[in-house]
Amino acid sequence: MNRNKIIIKDLNFYYDDKQAIRDLRLNIPANEVFSVIGPANSGITTLLRTLNRLCDLTPGTRIEGEILLDNKNIYSEEISITELRRRVGFVFDVPTPLPMSIFDNVAYGLRLVRRKNKKTPLESVETALRQAALWDEVKERLKSPAMSLSGGQQQRLCLARVLALEPEVVLLDRPCSGLDPISTAKIEESLTELKKQVTIIISPHNTQQAARISDRVAFMLDGRLIEEGANIEVFSSPKDKRTSDYITGRFG
């Protein structure tokens, strides 16, 4: 087995008085696709947002426990949040292109680190777009507005935007909900390809997708981790009744 890229120790997370994550302990191995499944409001989105500290943006939240990235607590004082977020990318559940050109969208993150007056190398943008399986569709019109792309293309653009920063971990929060099957297939294909270089943590939009793409699967319910294991184990012989109920579609 691969070494652990992320280790979560006794994580508790609160929005004001409401607890969204309860005593969560989880190891996420490097260079695999790790799926977190569960019904709505199980704390999955919250979990993903704690992993690159996007949750800091929501006022009134509180976190307990530790999250180690390469054995360093990302909530410790020495960690630079901006650097952490570049190392751990995030793709949202709806396509979120910024109101600028396709090229500028992909280059957005790069330009935040580069010194002024240095042009963003076209190669980085091209590589990222190729990795996200979008290059061939947009190479002729990199200057046109990102909003003019279809929903599926926009979501792949968002993936490319994250990949341009050459992150170590990519978090995807139901990235394919509401997308057409072709775009979904393309995204899944790129993820399988990508895991050679990065660790992928995804909240799939259904169990079939989880079964298709993941190496390991975790099932969450009410902010608790119910079960975690290799893809085949969880789907063929779940240990917990709630997991099997969920997988067979008896609730959620």
């Binding site: 690159n52 943006l57 957005y108 993150g109 935040l112 994250v162 920063l165």
Partner: protein, 279 residues
């Protein structure tokens, strides 16, 4: 009292409301036509480019035009950093608390204070105490305070209209707060902010009471911002109230109306494009 049948009441009410609304438009058009009808014939190249002579009885309105432009420009330049900065502070840098409540209270209160009070304040503070005399600078400073609330409100609204996801995306890509504001928020909010600036320009151009007490009524060509100069609105007022020249008063009023019309149309076009883009 007679009890009306609901449908008769509906017809009656609709009739009254339509009539009143159309009457308001009619009055507006009437006022504009009334001024332009007699004013447009006065306007020509000489009128716009000549210095007024004999207190404005003869000659053009070049100095008042320059006065208006310089006072307005100065006011906007001074107000811009404070107004837009306050808007960013309220929308991006702080949660609701005592301080924001106080800032909002002061902004709303400033918006309601009549221009003559601004005039009094500008007169005592800028003209007398800071000893800037009646000058373009005193007028600009006074108007800058006066347009602050307009600028803050419109800019804050424009900033708040920027979708939250833009900010999240920028942060998630490792942007700092400042980078996020500069690269993800400002480009989307800029139209609304510019619109606020244009509205403020309109208020400066139209203002009389506050500038007459701070920039004075001098008709000679200002050489620096420390010289007194009257604006077009003040010039127009003087022409009317002193009974100097009705013809030139009409001409000046027509120029003012055209200018204000132009400013409002531009602002409106920007609003429309802004709203269309935002959705």
């Amino acid at each position: 009292m007679i009890k009306l049948n609901p449908h008769t009441a509906e017809k009656l009410a609709k009739g009254v409301i339509w009539t009143v609304a159309l009457m308001v438009i009619a009055v507006l058009i009437f006022i504009i036509v009334f001024i332009l009808y007699r004013g447009l014939s006065v306007i020509n190249w000489e009128f716009l480019t000549r210095i007024p002579r004999r207190s404005g009885r003869e000659g053009g309105i070049l100095t008042p035009i320059i006065g208006t432009l310089s006072v307005t420009l100065l006011a906007i330049l001074i107000a811009m950093p404070f107004g837009i900065g306050t808007a960013f502070y309220l929308a991006e840098y702080t949660k609701d608390g005592i301080l924001t409540r106080i800032i909002r209270f002061c902004t709303e209160s400033l918006a309601g204070i009549p221009s003559i009070i601004y005039g009094l304040f500008g007169f005592i503070f800028f003209v007398q105490i800071l000893d800037l005399k009646w000058s373009i600078l005193s007028g600009g400073l006074t108007l800058a305070i006066m347009v602050l609330p307009t600028l803050i409100r419109t800019s804050e609204e424009a900033i708040r209209a920027v979708p939250k996801t833009y900010r999240e995306v920028s942060f998630s890509l490792g942007g700092t707060k400042w980078q996020t504001i500069r690269k993800a928020v400002v480009p989307s909010a800029i139209r609304g902010i510019v619109n606020g600036l244009i509205l403020s320009v309109g208020r400066c151009v139209a203002e009389t009471a506050a500038v007459i007490l701070t920039a004075g009524v001098s008709l000679s060509m200002p050489k620096s911002v420390l010289d007194s100069s009257r604006t077009m609105a003040v010039h127009f007022y003087q022409l009317v109230i002193e009974g100097i020249s009705m013809t030139n008063a009409y001409g000046t009023a027509a120029v003012l109306i055209i200018l204000v019309f132009f400013i409002n149309v531009v602002a409106n076009m920007l609003i429309n494009r802004f709203v269309a883009k935002g959705r």
